[in-house]
Amino acid sequence: MTPDGVPQIPFLERNRKVALGLLAVVLFFGAWQAAFLYFPFNPLFISKPNLIFAGLADLITSGELLYDLRVSAVPFLYGFSAAVVVGVSIGILMGWRVRVGYALDPLMTVFYASPLVALAPLVIVFFGVGVAGKAIIIFLLSVFPFIFNAYAGVRAVDRLLINVVRSLGGTEKDLYLKVIVPSVLPYLVAGARIAVGRALIGVLVGEFFAASEGIGYAIARFGDLFALDKMFACILAVMIIAVVMTEGIRWAERAAFPWRVGQ
């Protein structure tokens, strides 16, 4: 019991969301490991967690992993930044100008829904095997969540709030800064969470097709060499990065928009 007489909630119960989530991850790897007590293990076709973790440790200590990640980070940053700028501009324009919205909505929807990955070879042919080609693949995959979320955000701006600011003597600039931007921002953050995952796919796909270094290339190469422990180790690294990025955005969202908590 705490001093004020409220019964203490046990640690596990307070953190059960995190605890259960972690438990599932641990069980998954445990089951994977345990499966080979019954099934024959052939390292040419599959790997198992202890080998993967050893491989990961190997790649980290040798500096290989970090190097590949740094190489891959360059087109990622270019492509993703371009997606933010272009996506948000197009999305806001579509939301603000009704005719632009009507005109572009079907086209953008088609692109968003289609497997753009299929265009990757073509992009490489057009823009080469360097950073540019990969950045464009990443851009193509991650721009649409920004377009559609900015579009939705602008359309969701509450007309009443516009009237409130107008009636209190607000100018166009005030409308923009005090109503539209704060309304749209959370939509953009939500879009960024989706876009990060798609951008990472872009990194891998781009490097599968044409690269001599980078994390995607490493996965493909280890696969070709039947070094499946290291291949899985690289995949695991990408997964961890994806989780850290999306969770990081989620955390930043909660910190930046306290008014959305509980909505």
């Binding site: 509450d158 709030l161 409130v164 209190l168 005090k178 109503v179 008014w259």
Partner: protein, 256 residues
């Protein structure tokens, strides 16, 4: 002598795209006296909210004259402020920051803003909730913020567009009492749009009944009940008689 606020022959037709035009106001006249609390009742869609928006300067009528202190109203101005039915609080701003919005838009320095908002937070009974966000407040509290925000810029006229319609019955009763207290303290001219005859009588010096769409003034009632008013007054014969008279004026306008 011209009235404090004067509207003459105001006409407005809404022309929504792809739909038939709607005549909202037709030959609407009104005279508002300085410092009075005037309620406007009328059937749904009769244009009473539209008229408040015209007074506020957000909508321009097709024709007619509207003036305040003899000066034509052509847009929003610091002499008028509105309390909205759906509150209209910015969800990303705290109570205090919502109340200071109008002052901020006028470029008032932060120190003065805080001083004003502190006073108003006390006045509307929100002490201790300065740092809360709108989603953390009850409906009644939200409208207290709406009221404080409208009062913050110290307007001469307060326009209230069914401000208590989104509240439950008991909260509404309490807010009416609060409003009268604040009206006494702040001494503003108030135009109060409502559907509730009770509410209109209880609060007002005069009640204007509007016709159905296209809306114009049908009849105006003087509410000679003494002030300060209390809750018990609602069950007196005088109150009920007024209620009946207003109801008779209103009922022919209502179609279901």
């Amino acid at each position: 002598m011209a009235a404090y606020i004067e509207a003459r022959n105001v006409n407005l037709t809404f022309r929504p795209p792809n739909r038939a035009p709607v005549r909202a106001l037709y030959g609407f006249d009104i005279d508002v006296r300085e410092g009075e609390l005037l309620s406007i009742v009328g059937p749904s869609g009769c244009g009473k909210s539209t008229f408040l928006n015209i007074l506020l300067g957000l909508i321009k009528p097709d024709s007619g004259q509207i003036s305040m202190r003899g000066k034509a109203i052509s847009g929003p101005g610091p002499d008028r402020a509105m309390v909205f039915q759906e509150f209209g609080l910015l969800p990303w701003r705290t109570v205090q920051s919502n109340i200071e919005l109008g002052l901020e838009l006028k470029g008032v320095p932060a120190e003065t803003r805080h001083k004003v908002s502190r006073e108003l937070i006390e006045m509307v009974g929100l002490g201790g909730f300065e740092a809360h966000y709108p989603h953390e407040l009850s409906g009644g509290m939200k409208q207290r913020v709406g009221l404080a925000r409208a009062l913050a810029t110290d307007p001469d006229v307060l326009l209230m567009d069914e401000p208590f319609a989104a509240l439950d019955a008991q909260t509404r009763d309490l807010m009416q009492v609060e409003l009268l207290r604040i009206w006494n303290q702040a001494r503003k001219t108030m135009l109060f749009v409502t559907h509730q005859i009770d509410e209109a009588i209880y609060l007002s010096d005069r009640v204007l009944v509007m016709t159905k769409r296209p809306g114009h003034a049908k009849k105006i009632f003087d509410i000679a009940l003494p002030r300060p008013r209390d809750y018990e007054m609602r069950v007196t014969p005088e109150f009920n008689e007024l209620k009946l008279e207003i109801w008779h004026a209103l009922k022919d306008e209502i179609t279901v």
